[in-house]
């Protein structure tokens, strides 16, 4: 009798435990370790308070490590993660392959900046919700411009930028007129060079996927880049990426720096930047072809097709990308810390527009059109990248070639010829060129 009671009690405890366990859902969220994402982790009490049955398990990684892990998992249908942080490059490719679940339950989708929504969609369906967006612009030293007797235009051309760089360069005092990316990588120097080429009327591929490095537009872009970096750039520029140029600009070694709008908050921080009060912002330059040299990027949240917890995952994404989340961050940490570049309503907020680089960030993002990135027609989408799976490999190799040219190991013509040969081979092997 006693044994039977014990057995029944044990069964009841197991059953109740099972019910309690079934009510709890744990979401595994793979995310990149930038400041906005780290901040989100601190804010999640707000989400779990209204969704007590959902627990959050964070996997925070450096961007390249994250990309590798997430790609491995999703391509092998591993199902390790329920929410992925991915960029504009991966989203349309993975959406097309059916690796992502189309999103539902997003707060006011019409409020998302059109260019960002377009870059995160495939076949008209939104596959990832933007958490944070950025473009690129020119940061410059107003005091050095005044000393050189110049005034920065609101819509500069490459000729104006180069003239300003020449006049600001003062190598005796350690001032370089301009700092640009030189470190090899599709997300490093090619992010900048791709947009610079776009503004010179160049394109990666023609309508039949033939590489275009043998065309005069690419030659003009690369020779201009190499010349201005030789005349006005810092020493060892072929190893400089975002972080290295940031350090140079903050320590007063650069007159101008063309890079991500995310750098805005760093260069105006008086604790970090020597000349924080003298920093101005302007839109990326053009060359008269109707396209400016600015990119468009967004880190976005998506649900992989292998997840067993789609409903809870979409609920979390809905919260993290909502207007409410922006207001929460503003209330706790100020408007300057609200994730930028995703919603039109944020840029209609007069409080947010007081942030010095806010208006220029919006102008830069609006000037970018990932659906029509170049002056001439192209068969691809994406501004600083080409949204095909092969691009990461091709972009990195071409980046290495151009970085070698910047280091003086090969000439501009040799670099362009090598880039053309390599890309043609890769595209032929991949079946794009018949």
């Amino acid at each position: 009798m006693k044994l039977r009671h014990t057995f029944l009690t044990a069964c009841a405890v197991f059953a109740l435990g099972g019910i309690a366990q079934a009510a709890d859902v744990t979401l595994t969220i793979a995310t990149v370790n930038n400041g906005d994402m780290i901040r989100m982790q601190k804010m999640t009490d707000d989400f779990t308070a209204t969704n007590p049955g959902i627990k959050l398990n964070w996997v925070t990684l450096e961007e390249n490590d994250l990309r590798q892990k997430v790609t491995k998992d999703i391509s092998t249908k591993g199902g390790q993660y329920d929410v992925l942080t991915i960029g504009m490059y991966e989203t349309p490719i993975w959406g097309k392959k059916g690796w992502l679940v189309p999103l539902a339950g997003i707060d006011d989708p019409a409020d998302i900046l059109p260019a960002v929504a377009g870059g995160l969609s495939y076949d008209g369906k939104l596959y990832a919700a933007p958490f944070y967006g950025e473009s690129s612009f020119v940061m410059y030293r107003k005091d050095l411009m005044a000393k050189a007797g110049l005034k920065m235009s609101d819509t500069p051309t490459w000729d104006e930028i180069i003239t300003a760089a020449d006049k600001m360069t003062d190598r005796a005092n350690g001032v370089n007129g301009i700092c640009l990316r030189g470190k090899a990588g599709w997300g490093e120097n090619m992010a900048f060079l791709g947009t610079m080429a776009n503004s010179f009327g160049a394109r990666w591929f023609d309508e039949n996927w033939h590489p275009q490095f043998d065309q005069p537009e690419w030659k003009a872009a690369i020779t201009t880049y190499l010349k201005v970096m030789k005349d006005d750039g810092p020493a060892g520029a072929s190893g400089n990426g975002f972080s290295e140029n940031l350090a140079l600009f903050q320590s007063g070694k650069c007159g101008m720096w063309a890079d991500a709008t995310a750098a805005g908050s760093f260069v105006i921080d008086p604790k970090a930047s020597k000349n924080a009060a003298d920093v101005g912002f302007t839109i990326a330059p053009d060359k008269g072809f109707g396209k400016r040299a600015n990119w468009l990027w967004a880190w976005a949240l998506a649900v992989p097709a292998g997840s067993q917890k789609v409903e809870a995952a979409q609920k979390f994404i809905g919260w993290a990308t909502s207007k409410h989340y922006g207001e929460l961050v503003a209330a706790k940490e100020g408007w300057a810390n609200v994730p930028p570049g995703t919603r039109t309503s944020l840029y209609n907020n007069p409080e947010y527009l007081k942030v010095p680089f806010a208006a220029m960030t919006l102008a830069s993002m609006n000037a970018a059109d990932p659906m029509h990135p170049t002056a001439k027609p192209v068969p691809y989408t994406g501004i600083q990248f080409v949204a095909i799976p092969e691009f990461a490999g091709i972009g990195t190799k071409v980046g290495e070639i151009f970085s070698s040219a910047l280091a003086g190991q090969i000439t501009a013509d040799e670099a362009l010829a090598q880039a053309q040969t390599y890309t043609t081979d890769a595209m032929t092997k991949a079946g794009y060129i018949k």
Binding site: T60, E62, D65, K69, G78, A247, F266, S273
Partner: protein
């Protein structure tokens, strides 16, 4: 008789050794200095070393963001268990090779003939597929590949003499780990799915990814060749007569191994353990790829602080110092044993 060196030569060698030592130590010194700077000072150009206002804030931020002690616990579990598991396999293996070596191959087949067997198996399979238009399941393809590659490969390894086996074991360390990443990742992540594919029980929720069940055996297997090699070198130094005397006194194999051989080789085993601990502690490639949180070690912890965009050098330096501090302390206190272990058998 020791060779006498001129004072000038001694001085020169000392200067060169110190220069090389300082150059090798410089990155660690720089990391330690950056860890105590504010983020903006860590970035500022030109760099200052002594005039910087020092701060502990990076360590606080790192601990606040990541639970450092959980990573230390995970690393300790993986390191200790993989070392113990490694010794369990390595001591008998090294004993057999040191005291009962096989002088000749167990098989009369040559390497070429083994390759011919594998190649023939592949050809037969392809011909079968081609002529029958047969579409086998993934599981069947897996079984076929097992029969064609793994079975003859294992038989070949088994048939080798001792020196061949030792070389073969070391050769497994020569392969770039990235080459084996995807197969191992699939085994770890889909081990349950394989059983499901075969129509057996569905174990798809029980993955080896991000678990000690996966990481401990993997770390053991990664370092096993080196442990066996080191123990083999130690055991070779022990006179075989002592073991024979124990045998004559009626010692069983177990007693011979663990009551005679192991106590005599204890210094060597300790050095081997230390080396294995250091290797397992610093392993990053597999840890980064096969863990996420629950079994993530300190190498994973460091990677959370690296970023291509932003200011992170001071925090990354603080995380690095926190990660290497325990192993530096262990290494410092046991350097004599470690050096002895690495140079054992080099001088007779």
């Amino acid at each position: 008789m020791a060779r006498r060196q001129s004072p000038r030569r001694t001085l020169l060698i000392t200067i060169v050794a110190w220069t090389i030592g300082l150059l090798m130590f410089f990155p660690i010194f720089w990391t330690a200095v950056a860890a105590f700077k504010s983020e903006s000072d860590a970035y500022s150009l030109p760099q200052t070393v002594l005039s910087t206002p020092w701060t502990f804030e990076n360590f606080g931020i790192v601990q606040d963001r990541s639970d450092y002690f959980r990573y230390v616990f995970n690393t300790t579990v993986i390191v200790v268990l993989s070392t113990l598991l490694g010794l369990m396999f390595a001591i008998p293996a090294a004993w057999s090779m040191a005291f009962a070596p096989t002088a000749q191959s167990r098989s009369s087949l040559s390497g070429r003939q083994w390759l011919a067997i594998i190649f023939s198996g592949l050809v037969i399979c392809f011909l079968g597929l081609y002529f029958t238009d047969w579409k086998p399941s993934n599981a069947l393809v897996g079984f076929a590949l097992l029969l064609i590659f793994v079975v003859p490969g294992s038989l070949w390894a088994w048939s080798q003499n001792t020196s061949g086996t030792l070389l073969w074991m070391l050769s497994t360390k020569m392969m770039p780990p990235a080459g084996a990443l995807i197969p191992i990742y699939l085994i770890f992540n889909r081990n349950g799915l394989v059983f499901k594919d075969w129509g057996w029980i569905n174990l798809s929720d029980y993955n080896l990814i991000d678990s000690f069940w996966g990481m401990v055996p993997l770390m053991t297997l990664l370092n096993l060749p080196i442990i066996i090699w080191m123990l083999f070198t130690y055991f070779k130094e022990i006179p075989v007569g002592i073991l024979e005397a124990a045998r004559m006194d009626g010692a069983s194999l177990w007693n011979e191994l663990f009551r005679v051989l192991t106590p005599m080789a204890l210094p060597g085993i300790a050095s081997t353990c230390l080396l294995n601990i250091i290797l397992a502690w610093n392993e990053a490639f597999w840890s980064l790829n096969l863990t996420n949180k629950y079994a993530a070690p300190l190498s994973f912890f460091i990677s959370e602080y690296s970023s291509p965009e932003g200011q992170f050098w001071a925090k990354l330096s603080a995380a690095s110092i926190m990660a290497i501090a325990p192993i530096l302390v262990i290494g410092w206190f046991s350097q004599k044993q470690l050096v002895r272990g690495l140079t054992f058998g080099a001088v007779k």
